[in-house]
């Protein structure tokens, strides 16, 4: 903080100006200090509420390892689902921008249908309704096909989340691609590039920068929505917390514990998101 009160002298800046610069810097420091104090007060208030509620902290501590054991499932489901979603989003976005009527209509219907129905319904659709479709198909003489339509809970969960988020991210990717100046495509065309080359070499790398923040956002949302796979009895974080809470009639403790775990995970993911954005923005001042 030395520089705050120490605007270098002799640089040709008049004394009055230097005074003003110093005051601006001091104001900023004071603001930052007050901000930190506000956060600390807020944290103390939250802890006080927990104490006033007479939470059984020992119970929370004892159950922590059991709940934590579900983190593997949560992370696995989230990572698999976001990978699937990214793939579908790129294909979907190309479809939405395609001049091929078949490809375009499939992509548009996919986005519309998935965004227009609740994720909860979709999860059950993959898990409970799909086997019935398999059964119906067997009725048409496709023997043995039902086995492929009966999905394990984990697979159904990953498919449900991936397909759902893929639809939302399709629009994100499409918007990212469309945000790139048409002059870029023209320049690439003028060089004689094919559509694929233009997309791969020129448009996509630039669009990626635009879509990283919203996609990270989707990923953070997905980590929390992965708790929906608990509906199918996958022993992930929230499933374990809810189960333990019910068994011991201490749902409040368990829900607060698991909420804090999710919160910490999301704070960490946000940190990585910021790192990634800084990394992507290296090398140039602005995106034209």
């Amino acid at each position: 903080m030395k520089a705050d009160t120490n605007i270098s002298e002799g640089s040709g800046i008049p004394a009055e100006a230097r005074k003003i610069l110093t005051r601006i810097k001091t104001d900023r420091t004071v603001y930052k200090r007050k901000l930190v104090i506000s956060f600390i007060v807020l944290a103390i208030a939250m802890v006080t509420v927990l104490i006033v509620l007479k939470l059984d902290f020992k119970f929370m501590k004892d159950q922590l390892p059991f709940i934590f054991a579900g983190m593997g499932y949560t992370l696995f489901v989230s990572f698999m689902a976001i990978s699937l979603a990214c793939f579908l989003a790129v294909v979907g976005a190309l479809g939405r921008l395609s001049k091929n009527p078949v490809f375009n209509s499939i992509a548009s219907t996919y986005v519309s249908l998935i965004r227009g129905t609740p994720l909860l319904v979709q999860v059950y659709m993959w898990y409970l309704a799909l086997p019935q479709i398999g059964k119906a198909l067997e009725g048409y003489g496709l023997t043995g096909i039902q086995a492929y339509f009966t999905l394990p809970a984990l697979t159904a969960g990953i498919l449900a989340l991936g397909v759902c988020y893929g639809a939302y991210m399709t629009e994100t990717v499409r918007a990212g691609i469309q945000s790139i100046d048409p002059g870029q495509t023209e320049a690439a065309n003028a060089l004689g590039m094919t559509r694929t080359q233009t997309m791969k070499r020129i448009i996509f790398p630039q669009a990626l920068r635009v879509i990283i923040p919203p996609v990270s956002n989707e990923f953070i949302a997905m980590v929390k929505d992965s708790s929906l796979v608990s509906l199918m009895g996958v022993w992930e974080l929230s499933y374990r917390a809810i189960k333990m809470g019910r068994r011991h009639f201490q749902s409040l403790e368990m829900l607060i514990t698991v909420a804090l775990i999710y919160w910490m995970m999301c704070i960490m993911l946000q940190y990585f998101q910021e790192k990634l954005e800084t990394h992507m923005a290296r090398g140039d001042r602005s995106i034209r």
Binding site: D181, E186, A187, A190, L191, G192, P205, G283, D284
Partner: protein
Amino acid sequence: MMETDSPMVKISNIHKVFPPDIHVLCGIDLAVKKGETVAILGASGSGKSTLLRCINFLEEPTAGTVEVDGIVIEAGENDKLRTTRIRDIRKRTGMCFQAFNLFPHMTVLENIIEGPVTVLHQKKEAATAYAEQLLQWIGLSEKRDEHPSRLSGGQQQRVAIARSLAMKPKVMLFDEPTSALDPELVGEVVEVMERLAKEGMTIIAVTHELHFARDVADRILIMDNGNWVEQGPPEKIFNNPEQERTRQFLAHIL
């Protein structure tokens, strides 16, 4: 200056209609000889940029024929090889835009070798060696590893010229290359264009830059409302124009 009889660029009876009924080009003919430098002048909205963009099919002509270096494409014809032939024309045609349109995610060098490596499948080393020659030629060797955003407008346009030249084009198209530049940066770009013309490149430039039109161009064409008004050598157009419309236009830019 090398000149042969068969034209490098020949466009015949080009029409361009933007739906529903905006008739931008009304049956334009133009033949440009090898090594010739042609400047197209005209009020904004007269159709000169559209004409230029029809030559490399960034704009699809509604009717007419385009021929570049012996490759002939009719408007509206629809055979399988058409896309390939359009790309063949584009490989032989360099284009510089008013807004430069450099690739912001690539360095200056990467911008220049992108075409040769991706489109012409040249080895990266060979493309880089030629790119370095071009950088020296435009006087920007020291900017090799910078991103375009760190360059001035004039420097960006010179890199854009080098990027086109890296494809070893037969024709260079300039679409108002100096219109987006601060006045003090125009000179450096025109100087590069002038050297290019002197080295025998075939050039078609849409420009209002007077020095280029008067001293560099071999021929000037004036366009108005999608038709040629008048054409001829610069001395004649500037000193002794035949048409009243030409006189009006020149009064505006002189």
